[in-house]
Symmetry: C2
Subunit: 173 residues, 2 copies
């Protein structure tokens, strides 16, 4: 997740008011999560922001991931990912994972993790995490939209979650 | 959108800790939007909460809509919807649209609208709205996950948008 990323105004946009579009899309509330993936001996973690719930039953979450990222390929091949919910005071931890982190020996440089029942990294410092299995995806834009069923959930502690708005960062538009 | 809706714990959940799952999913930030649909002479509006961005280029939004709703069928057939961004002080307007509203003669009971370039209702009272065309969908749970490209955007005025958290309402888990 590159916070500075900014899509150029597309010539193909036609009649779209790009400034109005950007202003309105930035009003969609987003959080900041650490998504974890695993393939063989490779464990990666990266910051994800474009997340929403997708169904109560079965419980589905939706997450958009940069199409050109290594972790995107891992999710497409392994059909699973973890989503770690950060606490409101863990902005610095989210920032570390803007650059995807490689996990070795049960820890990322910035934070230790355990492996959940599905073999995905669960950050010990997070409020908790869910592990999810893909049920569908939409491959169309510069991010892939993954829809996945929550299969496991671990709550370490309760508390307010980190949200994008109060950080002053932008990722949207 | 039924705020009281609550999925029963599924016997199929197996090892899933349903309480942890609910607690964690409710920490995903969500907004409150009025989604508009149109089919022939039928104009509907309803409150949508499960919305996220899905791509910068092309600009995609993702929205989950109750699978058993009339508007869901309209979106699937017409392949388009509008998304109206409410102001932070328009909680009452969002509440009106928990029960889907029928539009007649350029107004819902609670609010007048105009029709955008794609023929979809744009609430005059909202901060603004985008009109979107479907590029994909995932039909799997009790909500359909729609992925759609933003084709038009109208900003009436700037301001803070209505978010679910501060209302005290819950829709998630």
């Amino acid at each position: 997740m590159l916070m500075a990323s900014e899509a150029p105004t597309s010539a193909a946009s036609g009649g779209l008011d790009a400034a109005a579009k950007k202003t309105l899309l930035r009003k969609i509330p987003h959080g900041l999560f650490i998504c974890g993936v695993a393939e063989g001996d490779t464990i990666n973690g990266f910051t994800a922001s474009w997340v929403t719930q997708g169904s109560f039953e079965p419980p589905l979450v939706v997450m958009a991931v940069r199409a050109d990222s290594t972790s995107n390929g891992i999710i497409q091949r392994t059909r699973r990912f973890s989503l770690n919910v950060l606490a409101a005071d863990q902005k610095d931890l989210a920032a570390v994972f803007f650059k995807p982190q490689n996990g070795i020996g049960g820890r990322f440089d910035a934070a230790p993790y355990s492996l959940g029942a599905l073999g995905l990294p669960i950050l010990e410092a997070a409020l908790g995490a869910v592990e999810c299995e893909l049920v569908g995806e939409v491959v169309h834009g510069d991010h892939t939209v993954f829809v996945a069923e929550v299969k496991t959930a671990v709550l370490h502690r309760d508390g307010a979650a980190l949200e994008l708005g109060p950080t002053g960062w932008q990722y949207g538009g």
